[in-house]
């Protein structure tokens, strides 16, 4: 393995956001937001450059840090999967950056305020950490990346300083720390058996022996706690609902995808021969439970933000249905293919749709002073853009064409039919119906005629509504990539 041309872009993808963090922190005050804006633009440019480089070379980008070869040194590696995630995250971060300008501007007359400084610094921190998760080719560096991500995400939950968000943040932190230490335990075992922490080398050396199976189980369990897959999901709803809307969008849309991506990376790239069919079925079984439980509980929520948070719990379940569907019955190993593409498409589509939904819910909360669903009657007349954004995001989650959610479910259903696992198809269809239930519940309430339109407590920043709508439209149109010729996912695999 040697450094490929353009590999330096991977270093930039990780370090530009981190340099932004350092600059925002040191300059402080209003400059933190300015630094964040500049960094976001730079980071978007780098993400596009990475995608272009990979598409052009047709192979993965590799970078050997320090010039040292593996296994002694650390390699960064970006294949098609990583590129898709890097691009998706960059786009959503741009949207959140624009949205948050209205919420986290430093008030005039104040040199530096707590919430804005913390938000802008940690937004960039989350971004850099996510990029590191996507491109790192070393298991220990991935552990550090997971911890970076946790430390950056947890304080955003308790940003408003209330007791219940502090409690939610502490609970999130404890689950996340348990998750990372279990992941590290698995990494340690793998080093003890194979003498390397490099993903590519491990992929070549790994055998289905007891220690390896134990390591795989421990790492997966740890990552499931961080991804809030049922039954380890209890921390998520209060945390994501209690955070400020811009933070909820980051947490639900992006941060969750980091630990999920690691499960994909491990199962498909390190353990494809080691994972067994029953374990894949178990993982998808937990996913199915998440879909059912998450959706049913979402239907019963009285508050909009909590409903959206429980919707996240359900949508995470879909991300795990792909594992048994990717198991090739002939070779008994995980093969990238339609199921993998479906899972990735779902991750990207959910990231944009959920961010849009939280943004819209945030606008509604700020405008009305509350987010009780019962009190939303007639709001479609005063906040039409936000309601439209929320609905389009929901439609993408339900899986109607031409949304990304539709394409994702299409691919997963096709894989289910091809491998004869019709029960997962049934789960997906039921899940879609339940999702439709609460999306249309909100929509019906918002469009209720006869009720007098609620008074707006505060003027609504049009930029916030516009960004929410833009992300929701993006999610609705993602399904159209099926008609393009871009075949990213297979590059470098």
């Amino acid at each position: 393995m040697t450094t490929t041309p353009g590999g330096l872009l991977l270093v930039l993808a990780v370090l530009v956001p981190f340099v932004g963090v350092l600059a925002a922190f040191a300059l402080g005050g209003r400059n933190a937001q300015r630094v964040a804006m500049v960094t976001i633009l730079a980071g978007l440019g780098i993400a596009i450059a990475v995608a272009a480089a990979v598409a052009q070379s047709g192979d993965a980008l590799v970078y050997l840090l320090g010039g040292w070869g593996v296994p002694l040194g650390i390699a960064l590696r970006a294949d098609g999967l990583a590129v898709v995630m890097i691009l998706a995250v960059a786009v959503v971060i741009v949207g959140i950056g624009v949205y948050a300008r209205a919420d986290f501007a430093t008030p005039p007359g104040v040199r530096e305020a707590r919430a804005p400084l913390v938000f802008w610094t940690l937004l960039l921190a989350i971004w850099g950490s996510l990029n590191l998760v996507f491109v790192s080719g070393d298991l220990f560096t991935l552990y550090v990346a997971l911890e970076l991500l946790t430390f950056a995400a947890v304080p955003l939950v308790s940003l408003d300083g209330r007791a219940e968000t502090l409690r939610a943040a502490l609970r999130y932190l404890l689950y996340a720390l348990l998750g990372s230490i279990l992941y590290l335990l698995g990494t340690v075992l793998l080093y003890g058996v194979y003498g390397t922490l490099d993903i590519a080398l491990l992929a070549a050396r790994v055998q289905p022996e007891p220690a390896t199976l134990a390591a795989a189980a421990l790492m997966t369990a740890g990552l499931l706690a961080k991804t809030a897959l049922f039954p380890l999901h209890l921390w998520l709803p209060p945390a994501h609902a209690g955070a400020p809307p811009a933070a909820s969008a980051v947490l639900s849309g992006l941060v969750i995808k980091g630990s999920w991506f690691l499960v994909v990376r491990l199962w498909f790239d390190v353990f494809p021969d080691v994972v067994t069919a029953p374990s894949a079925q178990l993982l998808a079984g937990l996913g199915a439970a998440a879909i059912l439980v998450g959706n049913v509980v979402a239907l019963r929520q009285a508050r909009l933000k909590l409903m959206v948070a429980y919707s996240t719990v359900a949508q995470i379940g879909y991300l795990f249905l792909m594992f048994p569907l990717a198991l090739d019955p002939a070779s008994a190993r995980l093969e990238g293919g339609g199921a993998l593409a479906g899972g990735m498409m779902h991750a990207v589509s959910h990231a944009t749709a959920k961010a849009a939904m939280f943004m819209a819910a945030g606008v509604i909360y700020a405008a009305l002073g509350h987010d009780r669903i019962a009190g939303l009657a007639g709001i479609g007349r005063v906040l039409p853009v936000s309601v439209l954004a929320f609905t389009l995001g929901g439609v993408s989650l339900i899986g109607l064409p031409p949304s990304g959610g539709f394409l994702a479910k299409w691919l997963l259903l096709a894989a289910a039919v091809a491998t004869g696992q019709w029960w997962w198809a049934a789960v997906m269809l039921v899940g879609g119906l339940l999702t439709a239930g609460y999306v249309f519940l909100v929509l019906a309430r918002a469009l209720a005629s006869g009720a007098e339109a609620p008074a707006l407590r505060a003027p609504v920043p049009r930029s916030q509504e516009a960004v929410a709508l833009a992300l929701a439209l993006g999610s609705m149109l993602l399904g159209l990539v099926a008609f393009t010729d871009v075949r990213f996912l297979g590059i470098g695999r």
């Binding site: 947890v154 502090l166 340690v188 209890l234």
Partner: protein, 116 residues
């Protein structure tokens, strides 16, 4: 030399189990933080036992795991610091230090979620 590694490897396994039990069972967040540290120590000790088994080239242990252990200890310390700070702030604001799952769906008359 291998016996020390095996002994401490088994001790590490026991520590991970003890810490995991405590993390699940103890209701007090501070005890959970202590339990997390016990699990962490177990993981680090296992890594250290593996490092000792890899001794060679004139050194007492494989330097790569030992170096990574130092990184791990620093990360674990930072995690404990953040958790303790969160816990103390929760105590200051709420007067109690429990993680009792209070559903924030409790709604006060003005429509905002009430503090638990």
């Amino acid at each position: 030399m291998t016996d020390a590694a095996t002994l401490f490897g088994l001790l590490a396994a026991a520590l991970v189990g003890i810490g995991l039990y405590a993390l699940i069972v103890n209701p007090q967040p501070l005890r959970k933080i202590v339990a997390f540290n016990v699990v962490g120590n177990g993981v680090f000790m296992l890594f250290g036992a593996i490092a000792h088994r890899g001794a060679g080239s004139g050194w007492g242990g494989d330097p790569v795991p030992q170096a990574l252990l130092i990184t791990g200890l620093v990360v674990a310390f930072s995690a404990s610091a953040l958790a303790i700070a969160l816990l103390l702030r929760l105590h200051d604001v709420a007067g109690s230090a429990t993680l009792a799952t209070d559903a924030p769906a409790r709604v006060s008359p003005d429509g905002n979620a009430a503090d638990a």
